[in-house]
């Protein structure tokens, strides 16, 4: 009886898929947070915008907010399917293991696990991963920060006499970074940010302070305060709250020399004079492509990753404190990224353990670390191609995990 | 509680106040006190006004009749002990409490079958500790001894009870019944029904992991009927019953165990006169069955009338053992308040 039912259901879904129109697309969206949190808000806006672009009515979208990365995610997916959804999207990495379970059980429903990393390895046709090349925007935001540092030095504001704390023993200027976890995603991001700054100001070093949480206002604020106390003049971040920019603004007002580069959302309302800009994802680009592929019955690959070339990333409006000429410089760098003349991870711009890299093998295998067994076997690729590390090429999720010279992690 | 001497002094003060023209209201359940001091008596029964009489016209039995609502026999019998054999030999029993105070000091006495041994003393002079030490509920000092003689022949077997828990004592086959002072805090479980309270000391019987409730139910019905326990049902929590009925349940259970030693602490405290006499009669019944009874009381009239011998505790010491038939309230009162030179003496 159950099998018969499954067959009938499959047949019906198949039939539905064949005659798919915008109105037949029903989307279940599983979100780790809600609209009060920047990362999730940018997904919500992206999905709404894409739906509006393609004429998918809002009533065809089921939202599941604040879904933890556990069995709840699987339940939410099945619940959406029960309500007729034929596309399920989840927006947090940890949802992936639960999404794949549902994907195995419901081959006629498409599952997209945003920021996930093993869709291609599962061999499932209905399971996708997607990510933006956010590291490109982080590089550009680094350029913005670098321009500010250069201005501070040029104006004589930032000198070793006035701010001895802000220089290390070798005369390098200190930069700070509030990171969530020590995953590739974060490593890739802060390295790009650092290289962006160093493309303008050669003598910089950076400290990364981890909070071990994606969203924790207090911890992020505390991490930023600690970095500023050490003399860091720029505070970048890869964490989702406004904690760090708010703390930076507070200390700037109190007389410290510090500016903030945020993430996801425009931080100017939070830190009017401290915020320079924020790198951010333009999710609507991907969602528009995903929805239109669903509507038109087109196939999209297991991995999707785009950056400036597809306008899938950007930086938010420049803050009032940005150095003169920043906008022009940003335009120039973005153009160079778009035409391929500038590569973010150009191997000639950094060293690892004092050496310039000529080879960087990356293994796509997903391990089950608990039992030390292979969960999903993947190939090993040579990531350095034409003198640059190719990020987000072999899969959408970042895999740049090299610790380059000039950056120290505090755990 | 006041000694007779203190009571006399209080009454003298009250009489002076009356002579001064003051009006005095005294509330008591001791009828002889009412008769000796008052001019008029108002009687309340179960929260209702039962009447007012002139004291000159009243007698103990007429007042009791008003209090109870029916005629009551007000004599406490004290039949001569029959078949008197040594049951319990307490020797050198001492208890030091948690604060390091010696609350019982080298108490020695014997209790015999077919006899009621009274324990007199101002409350808090070691009565509670004495009974609990015998029952295995109290940690005693080294050198203390409580020997139980199960047979009438004192040379046969003897069991040392010190160092044994109540369960050990029961497992030895010693039927030691104990009606503690704190009825709902020790003797009974207030939130449980009569049935469940019946099984408090017998629930372990049998090998089944499940408790038998048939026998306790039967026993509860029996006690309810024979002692006239007023309760909506034997399944009503006992804490809902009045003090007298609670005590009937407790005493009923302890007697049902067919004890060889029965200890009661303040068995009639707070009870109406009718229930009190029911309890006295029950004790006498047990005495005649050959039970050794230890009766801790505070009403000296009752002690004198009911007990064959009376041990007086003073400051945790044995201040003498007197014959119930030969002693007087005044002698007891004196022994309760002033320590004798050679305390711990033998029977007088």
């Amino acid at each position: 009886m159950k099998k018969l039912l499954a067959f009938v259901l499959a047949a019906v879904l198949c039939l539905a898929a064949c005659t798919a129109l915008a109105a037949d697309l029903k989307i279940g969206v599983i979100l780790v947070g809600d609209e009060t949190e920047g990362y999730t808000l940018s997904h919500i806006n992206g999905i709404k915008e894409a739906a509006a672009n393609l004429g998918v009515p809002e009533t065809q979208i089921i939202w599941k907010y604040k879904c933890p990365e556990d069995q709840t995610c699987y339940d939410a997916a099945l619940d959406c399917i029960g309500q007729g959804c034929n596309l399920i999207i989840s927006n947090s990495y940890g949802h992936q293991t639960y999404m794949v379970l549902a994907a195995e059980e419901y081959p006629d429903v498409t599952f997209t696990s945003m920021t996930g990393d093993f869709a291609a390895l599962t061999g499932l046709d209905n399971f996708k991963n997607a990510f933006t090349k956010i590291y490109e925007a982080r590089y550009v935001s680094g350029v913005v920060a670098g321009m500010k540092v250069a201005e501070l030095v040029a104006s004589g504001e930032l000198t070793a006499e006035k701010y001895p704390n802000s220089f290390d023993a070798d005369g390098n200027i200190k930069i700070g970074y509030v990171g969530a976890f020590d995953y590739s995603e974060v490593v890739s991001g802060y390295t790009a940010f650092f290289l962006g700054i160093r493309s303008i100001v050669p003598n910089v070093v950076m400290e990364v302070n981890y909070t071990n949480s994606w969203f924790d206002i207090d911890k992020e604020a505390a991490a930023a305060e600690a970095l500023i106390a050490k003399g860091c003049v720029i505070i970048g971040q890869h964490a989702d709250s406004t904690g760090a920019p708010a703390a930076t603004q507070k200390l700037l007002d109190a007389g410290s020399l510090c500016y903030s580069v945020g993430y996801n959302i425009d931080m100017i309302p939070t830190a009017p004079t401290a915020a320079l800009t924020s790198p951010t994802n333009v999710w609507s680009v991907f969602y528009t492509k995903l929805f239109s592929a669903m509507i038109n019955g087109e196939e999209i690959g297991a991995d999707w990753a785009e950056g400036y070339a597809a306008d899938a990333v950007k930086i938010t409006d420049l803050g009032a404190s940005c150095a003169a000429g920043t906008a022009e410089k940003v335009a120039e760098v973005v153009a160079a990224i778009k035409d391929g003349s500038l590569k973010v991870f150009d191997a000639s711009t950094f060293t690892v353990g004092g050496e310039t890299l000529s080879s960087a093998p990356v293994d796509m295998t997903i391990m089950d670390w608990a039992t030390m067994t292979v969960a999903y076997a993947g190939e090993t690729y040579e990531a350095i191609i034409d003198g640059a590390f190719e990020e987000s090429t072999f899969r959408s999720a970042p895999y740049f995990a090299l610790r380059i010279d000039g950056i120290t992690e505090i755990k | 509680m006041l000694t007779p001497q203190e009571t006399d002094r209080l009454f003298a003060v009250l009489k002076n106040m009356r002579a001064d023209g003051k009006s005095i209201i005294i509330i008591t359940h001791k009828l002889h006190e009412v008769l000796s001091i008052s001019d008029r008596v108002s009687i309340l029964r179960k929260g209702e006004y039962a009447g007012t009489v002139d004291t000159d016209m009243a007698t103990e039995s007429s007042l009791t009749e008003l209090m109870v609502g029916k005629k009551v026999e007000l004599n406490i019998e004290c039949p001569e002990p029959v078949n008197r054999h040594l049951r319990l030999n307490v020797h050198n029993l001492s208890v030091t409490n948690a604060e390091g105070v010696r609350v019982l000091d080298s108490i020695s006495f014997e209790a015999f079958s077919g006899e009621i041994l009274g324990i007199a003393g101002i409350s808090g002079n070691g009565q509670k500790e004495l009974l609990e030490a015998i029952a295995g509920l109290q940690h005693v000092d080294a050198g203390s001894s409580v020997v139980y003689y199960p047979d009438d022949d004192r040379d046969s077997t003897a069991e040392q009870l010190i160092g044994k828990t109540p369960k050990d004592i029961r497992d030895m086959g010693v039927h030691l019944s104990f009606v503690p002072e704190d009825r709902l805090g020790m003797g009974l479980v207030g939130s449980m029904s009569m049935v469940d309270n019946m099984m408090l000391k017998s629930y372990t019987s049998g090998h089944s992991p499940f408790a038998d409730r048939k026998a306790p139910r039967h026993l509860a019905e029996e006690i309810k009927d024979s002692l006239g326990v007023v309760t909506p049902s034997i399944n009503t929590p006992v804490s809902r019953l009045s003090g007298g009925n609670v005590q009937k349940v407790l005493v009923g259970r302890e007697i049902a165990d067919a004890p060889s030693v029965l200890m009661t602490a303040y068995a009639v405290r707070g009870l109406d006169i009718h229930t009190s006499y029911t309890i006295y009669h029950l004790l006498n019944e047990q005495k005649q069955k050959g039970v050794a009874i230890i009766y801790v009381g505070e009403d000296l009239d009752v002690l004198v009338d009911l007990c064959d011998r009376i041990l007086v505790l003073c400051d945790g010491k044995n201040n003498g053992i007197v014959e119930g038939r030969k002693t007087s309230k005044e002698e007891l009162g004196l022994l309760m308040t002033s320590l004798q030179e050679n305390h711990g003496g033998t029977d007088r």
């Binding site: 159950k2 809600d34 009060t36 089921i62 939202w63 907010y65 604040k66 933890p68 990365e69 556990d70 069995q71 339940d75 099945l78 619940d79 029960g82 990495y93 940890g94 992936q96 293991t97 379970l101 976890f181 995953y183 995603e185 997903i366 391990m367 089950d368 670390w369 608990a370 039992t371 030390m372 067994t373 292979v374 969960a375 | 029952a135 509920l137 828990t165 109540p166 369960k167 004592i169 029961r170 104990f178 704190d182 709902l184 805090g185 020790m186 003797g187 009974l188 479980v189 207030g190 939130s191 449980m192 469940d196 099984m199 408090l200 000391k201 629930y203 372990t204 992991p209 499940f210 408790a211």
Partner: protein, 367 residues
């Protein structure tokens, strides 16, 4: 001085304990409470969120009842909560305030997960399941034994002790999760490939085994507390330790034994959650149910069948609140308030079943 006010000032409202409520009274009070809750809630929904109350109530109902799958999920979640409630029942009946169920569940879950990780695929299935079961029960029992031993020997405060043990358990679990996740960002499901240690499908769902166990335990625990000698001892110790000693009960032994049972059942719950529901472990495995179950156990007065009803009510409200939040894109704080108001009135009705209010001047005895 000539006029002395003899009348005692009577307060406007007086609270009086009812002697005994009849079945009809109880039903009436509860029905009134639910009706009142729905009315107050409707006002909140209409004026604060601007939604149609009837539609919101329908949605709330749908949270549990709209599909067979949702209903089965509700039962699955009910199983975890109810099991912990059942585990708490003997301890609470003994007036031992075991606030450590969360930790006892966690260590049971951790022991289960450890067996899955280290022996999954290496030993036959029957042995693996047995080892998971035994390990979880032992771990939970240990977590119950420690505070009980201290209570029995040093009369330590069990509420604080068991509460603190939760945080120890949480930290140990966090530590192991961190070890097991290795270089991955999260632990994910254990033995994802081999599915070793995952409960087999039973009537289509792995968690149906949990439901079976909970039904069994509800009945067993009811009988244990109601009819067994040990259950009787627990009741006596709970009522008065003096009485227990008087009755010849070894109080320390009963406390330790009962807490071992309580902890072991919590550990078992951890086993069922990991094997039958989550197939993974995190500090959120118990999901706060260890604390919610305290409310369940307390409200039901330790009757396991009443526990089932109260657990279901809590799960129903929770699912309803989630569905409202999802369906109306409402902030979940708002949907929690909607569910909370209903819960508040239902709990409040218990007060009016045991007590009545007397208004000043009205002396008519309502019985």
């Amino acid at each position: 001085m000539s006029q002395i006010n003899t009348a005692v000032h009577e307060p406007l409202l007086r609270v009086v304990k009812r002697s005994e409520s009849t079945m009809k009274q109880k039903v009436l009070v509860r029905a009134a409470a639910i009706l009142l809750a729905l009315i107050v809630d409707a006002l909140f929904i209409f004026f604060i969120t601007g939604l149609n109350p009837i539609a919101v109530y329908t949605t709330m109902f749908q949270g549990t009842f709209s599909t067979a799958m949702r209903f089965s999920w509700a039962l699955r979640d009910l199983a975890s909560l109810l099991l912990i409630g059942v585990a708490l029942a003997p301890a609470f009946k003994m007036r031992f305030w075991n606030t450590g169920a969360e930790g006892q569940v966690l260590v049971g879950a951790l022991a289960t997960a450890a067996v899955m990780v280290y022996y999954g695929g290496k030993v036959p299935n029957w042995l693996l399941y047995s080892a998971m079961l035994i390990a979880s029960i032992l771990a939970g029992a240990l977590w119950g034994f420690i505070p009980a031993w201290f209570k029995a020997h040093f009369n330590t405060n069990e509420t604080l002790f068991t509460l603190m043990m939760n945080y120890v358990a949480i930290q140990i679990v966090a530590c192991f999760v961190n070890i097991w996740r290795g270089q991955a960002s999260g632990l994910g499901k254990l033995n994802m490939k081999s599915k070793a240690g995952w409960f087999p499908q039973f009537f289509g769902q792995r968690y149906n085994i949990n439901l079976l166990v909970v039904v069994l335990l509800v009945v067993l625990m009811y009988c244990y507390l109601r009819y067994s000698k040990q259950g009787y001892e627990i009741a006596v110790v709970g009522e008065s330790e003096n009485t227990a000693r008087y009755a010849g009960i070894n109080v320390g032994k009963v406390i330790i034994r009962t807490m071992i049972i309580s902890g072991a059942l919590c550990g078992l719950t951890g086993f069922l959650i990991v094997g039958g529901r989550d197939q993974t472990i995190s500090t959120g495995t118990a999901g706060g149910n260890g604390f919610t179950a305290i409310i369940v156990a307390w409200l039901s007065k330790f009757n396991t069948f009443t526990m089932a009803l109260i657990s279901f009510l809590l799960i129903f409200l929770d699912k309803g609140a989630m569905e409202i939040a999802s369906a109306y894109a409402l902030n979940d704080f708002a949907s929690d308030i909607i569910a909370g108001i209903i819960l508040f009135f239902i709990l409040g009705s218990e007060f009016f079943i045991n007590y009545k209010l007397i208004v000043r001047g009205i002396h008519k005895e309502v019985r």
